[in-house]
Structures are given as structure tokens and as C-alpha cells.
Amino acid sequence: MNLLLLLVSAILINNFVLHYFLGICPFLGVSKKIDAALSMGVSVTFVLTLTAVVTWVINHWLLIPYGMPYLQIVSFILVIASLVQLVEMFVRKTSPPLYQAMGIYLPLITVNCAIMGLALLASLKEYGFAETVVFGVGAGIGFTLAIVLMAAIRERLDLADVPGPLRGAPIALIVAGIMALAFLGFSGMIK
């Protein structure tokens, strides 16, 4: 029950993009077309889940027992970078169509703050293993939801007559603000 609550809250209430401001770069950069946004969302969800597992193991079996939590930042970023590289190689060998769909987004994910943010937040909130994994999956679904909704709005926005200085990034940010406002409404769901 608790895990379900955590999942729902990670998707809707503590949405990574609209509440924690994590993964804003791809959220603004890769949200012009719905299918590209969907591929990005799926890739990020996949890497988030893997990262949740690996960083939890490193944090709890290596860093904490040996009293080196100050190495968290260095070790997490190295793990994430190599993980993304491994996933890219694996996907390229095993499934060319999948690689076609998410290949170009994978390298970008290394510097996606959502991944690093997940590792840090899970360690900060002292989540157990199951909680960390659920948090990772929920964060990924929440990210996908936000970026696909954003892409859908921006596809329509292309046809709208936006005043000159607002074109591009400013209107995207304002749209994101209104979406965040809508998502605030979910916070009444769970106390």
C-alpha cells in the first residue's frame, strides 16, 4: 500500500519535471514532436529504473559501510555515465529498431539531471531498496507523462500566433508553468 502511494505521488504530485525541476533540458529541448517525446520518456524511464537499482546497491553496500558518503557525487556520476554507455551498447547489439527509436537520446541522458537527482533524492530520503525502485519507475512515468503532454501542447502551439518576444523558450516555460499549476491540484489526493 505504501509502495503504491509512493508510485502515485512520484507520478502526479512530486512529478520530477513539474515539482522538482529535474530533467528540464530534455523537457524543453525534445518536446516539439509527440513521438520523439515518447521515445525520450521511455529511454529515461528505463535508465531511471536501472540507476535506482545500481546506485542503491553502491550507496548501501559500498559507500555507507566503508564510511565514504562524501564520494557519493563522484561515484554516482561515474556509475550513471558508464550505465548509459552500457545500455547504449546493449540496445545497439540486441535490438536495432529500438536503437533507432531511442539511440540518439541515450547519450543525452548522462547529463540529464533527473537521473542524478533520483540517485541523490533516494539517498537523501533514506529509501529502502523496494522504495527506491518504485520511486525510480514512478519518476520515469511522471517524466514521460509531462514531456508527452508538453509535446502535444507545443504541436498545437506551432499553429498559434504567439507574440514575437514570447516565441520559443518563453512560451514553453509559461506553458510548463500552467501545467505545473494543474498538477498542483493533485496534491490534495495524498496528505
Binding site: 513539474l18 515539482h19 522538482y20 525541476f21 529535474l22 530533467g23 528540464i24 533540458c25 524543453l28 562524501y70 564520494l71 557519493q72 557525487i73 563522484v74 556520476i77 561515474l78 555515465a81 547529463v111 540529464n112 539531471c113 537521473i115 542524478m116 537527482g117 541523490l120 533524492l121 537523501l124 514575437g164 518576444p165 514570447l166 523558450a169 518563453p170 512560451i171 514553453a172 516555460l173 509559461i174 510548463a176 508553468g177 500552467i178 505545473a180 499549476l181 498542483l184
Partner: protein, 205 residues
Amino acid sequence: MKSRTLGQEFVKGLWAENPVSRQLLGMCSTLAVTNAVINGLAMGLAVAFVLVSSSLLVSLIRKVIPNQVRIASYIVIIATFVTIADRFMAAYFPPLSKALGPYVPLIVVNCIILGRAEAFASRNSAGRSLIDALGMSLGYTIALVILSAVRELLGSGTLLGRQVIGAWFEPWVIMLLPPGAFLTLGILIATALFIEQKSRRRRPA
């Protein structure tokens, strides 16, 4: 690129290539911590420290690093300085470190720093990189302070914790919440673009 004087190298980070309003880099921390001026200022200074030190180090050892592993080396260098900044803040300013939460460690994935290391420090001398990093961090800090000043003023009627607007003012709580961050930044960037377009019309290049 080479023809720029040191002064121009410094000034470009303030307006023409401002990391926040122009390049849209480092958005996570920009949006997340700017609900009070003190947080925005602290974040700006932390980023400045990391950016200046890593740019300097990268440009000093740029000839030693093999090309294939350069990104990985930059990341390790940046992560080291971020750890220093994070531990320093946790030791000397515990409340501030608590308020900024995971966003200080997240400087490591801030695109400004890796971007400057890759695009500038890796191919310019130490002096030039230092000037470039100083300009960029000043531009970033100014943008953060302006953004957080607007949000704090409208969201709680204070500036740096001091009451500025009288008691008649009903604070707009929304400015302190996530939507306020997106809306304020959107409007600020639009204002910057508007000023830019106006001044370009006045004196055509």
C-alpha cells in the same frame, strides 16, 4: 573568436551569451532554488566557484588529457569541485545547505559547467578561460538574483528576509511554488528578448 579582447570575453557572459536567458542552460537549479534571494545568491556563488575552478583546471591540463576520455575527465574534475562546494556549505552554512537540498550536488550535471569546459576551456589558455568563467558565472548569478528577487518580493513581500512591501499586500503564494518559477522565468526571458529586439531595431547592424 580569437579577435575578442579579454574585456569582451568577460562581458559576453553578462548579456549576449547569458547562460540563463540566452543559452537556457542550468535550468534545474535556476528554477528550483530561486524562491528566496539568499538561496539564489548562494546557488549562484556555488556555481561560480565550481565553474571558475573547473574551467581553470581543465584549461591548464587540456594538453595532457587524451581526446577520447576528455568528457569523462571533465566530469571527474567537476564532481570533485562540486563535492568541495557541497561539503563546505554543509559545514559552514547548514540551514542554507538544507534549503538547497539536492540541488548543490546537482551542479555536477549542470550543463553550463560541462558546456564551458568542452566549448571554451578545452581550447583556450588558462587566463582566457578564467575570464570567460568569471563572466559566465557573474551572468548566471545576476540572472538568479533577479529571478529570486521577483519571486520573493511577490511571493512573500520581502527581500533577503526583510519586509519591503507594507502589510496591506497579500502575498502571491503561487510565486513561491513551482508554477511561479516557470512563469517568472518565461516572462523574464521574454522581457530580455524584447529589449534585445528593440535595441537592434534602433541601430541596425
